[in-house]
């Protein structure tokens, strides 16, 4: 599903997706029209422009993430932005889009993002103030010296050894190159 109030942009997006080999496309010139369609049918991917009159892209994504039911609620959404107005940075971060792609946009970039989303294994977070894919794309654990906020975060306290240390000979054996006999 492609949503953009600018007919020219919509046509160009559609051409790009035809080039990708996507034959079935739903083109909407407003987010409100898109909501009507999504109440009736499922889609695999949504591309939405952020800036539109009446209902903008951010409000559309919030609606989709909060007011619809699974599996539609979890559909991947790529939001396209041109100029990022200062007042909308937080709205963009919090709306729940799967990916925000800033212009200039090339088919190669768009294709990479779509492939990335196809392999995206992030969980969905449903909380009072946010519904959308986990924004922590990489998990390097909690910051040093701070307790983690994830249920699966390990304690930063190492604790005492529960087994005897390796002696130097064992360590040397681990590092020593050995001939492999096949």
């Amino acid at each position: 599903m492609l949503i953009d109030d600018n007919q020219k942009s919509l046509d160009m997006l559609s051409s790009i997706f035809h080039g990708f080999g996507v034959k079935e496309q739903i083109k909407c010139e407003s987010a409100i029209a898109a909501t009507d369609i999504l109440k009736r049918r499922m889609v695999d991917l949504v591309l939405v422009d952020c800036s539109m009159p009446e209902m903008d892209g951010y409000d559309f994504v919030r609606w989709l993430r909060r007011e619809t039911t699974p599996p539609l609620r979890y559909v991947p959404i790529i939001m396209l932005t041109g100029h990022a107005a200062q007042s909308l940075v937080h709205k963009s971060r919090d709306c729940g889009a799967s990916f925000v792609v800033a212009k200039p946009l090339t088919p190669a970039v768009l294709l990479k993002r779509i492939l990335w989303l196809g392999m995206d294994e992030r969980q969905f977070v449903e909380a009072d103030d946010y519904v959308g894919p986990d924004r922590r794309v990489r998990n390097f654990g909690p910051p040093l010296g701070q307790p983690g906020r994830r249920a699966g975060d390990l304690s930063t306290h190492v604790g005492a050894a529960s087994e005897p240390n390796l002696d130097q000979a064992d360590i040397d054996m681990l590092l020593k190159p050995q001939r492999v006999v096949l």
């Binding site: 600018n6 020219k8 942009s9 046509d11 160009m12 051409s15 790009i16 997706f17 035809h18 080039g19 990708f20 080999g21 499922m42 889609v43 695999d44 991917l45 422009d49 800036s51 699974p70 599996p71 979890y74 559909v75 991947p76 041109g82 100029h83 107005a85 200062q86 007042s87 212009k103 200039p104 946009l105 090339t106 088919p107 190669a108 768009l110 294709l111 779509i114 492939l115 989303l117 196809g118 392999m119 995206d120 969980q123 969905f124 977070v125 449903e126 909380a127 009072d128 103030d129 946010y130 986990d134 906020r149």
Partner: protein, 151 residues
């Protein structure tokens, strides 16, 4: 902190992409590029019309024109962002930054907006993406204008 529920999802997109067959990535990219280029002339003309509307707004300079000028600038960024328009895109982005950060403040300057619009016209006449070596200097000059007004 309120409780957050975590849900593991396998999307329809992932299933579609993992199905055998379809186009190779190189073909998909090449065909999409070719399809996009068929819109280049129309988009170029549309960008010219948007710049003309900005020129009109700079002449009338009404309070409503401030809002309109941002909308026009954003439309230019949106449209130019589909192609490699380089300095033209950068000039339009600089215009949007200027308007976004000053339209509700005493720093607002129609002259600064007009300089941007004149630069956009110049770059449009030079052809998108073919503006020559002076274009980078022009965009750098626009950034200095924005900095002088806002910083």
């Amino acid at each position: 902190m309120t409780g957050a529920r975590l849900v593991t999802v396998k999307s329809g997109l992932a299933r579609q992409l993992s199905r055998p067959g379809g186009r190779s990535l190189a073909d998909a990219e090449r065909l999409a590029d070719a399809a996009l280029q068929t819109h280049r002339t129309d988009a170029f003309d549309e960008l010219g019309r948007l710049v003309a509307q900005l020129e009109t707004a700079c002449t009338t300079r009404s309070p409503e024109d401030r809002v309109r000028a941002y909308a026009l600038g954003a439309s230019i960024v949106d449209l130019a962002g589909f192609f490699d328009t380089g300095p033209f895109y950068d000039a339009a982005y600089s215009l949007c930054d200027l308007i976004d950060r000053s339209r509700d403040s005493p720093l607002w300057s129609w002259d600064a907006v007009q300089v941007h619009v004149q630069a956009l016209r110049l770059l449009h006449l030079a052809g998108l993406g073919n503006a020559g070596p002076d274009a980078a200097g022009l965009v750098a000059g626009l950034r200095r204008v924005v900095a002088a007004i806002l910083d």
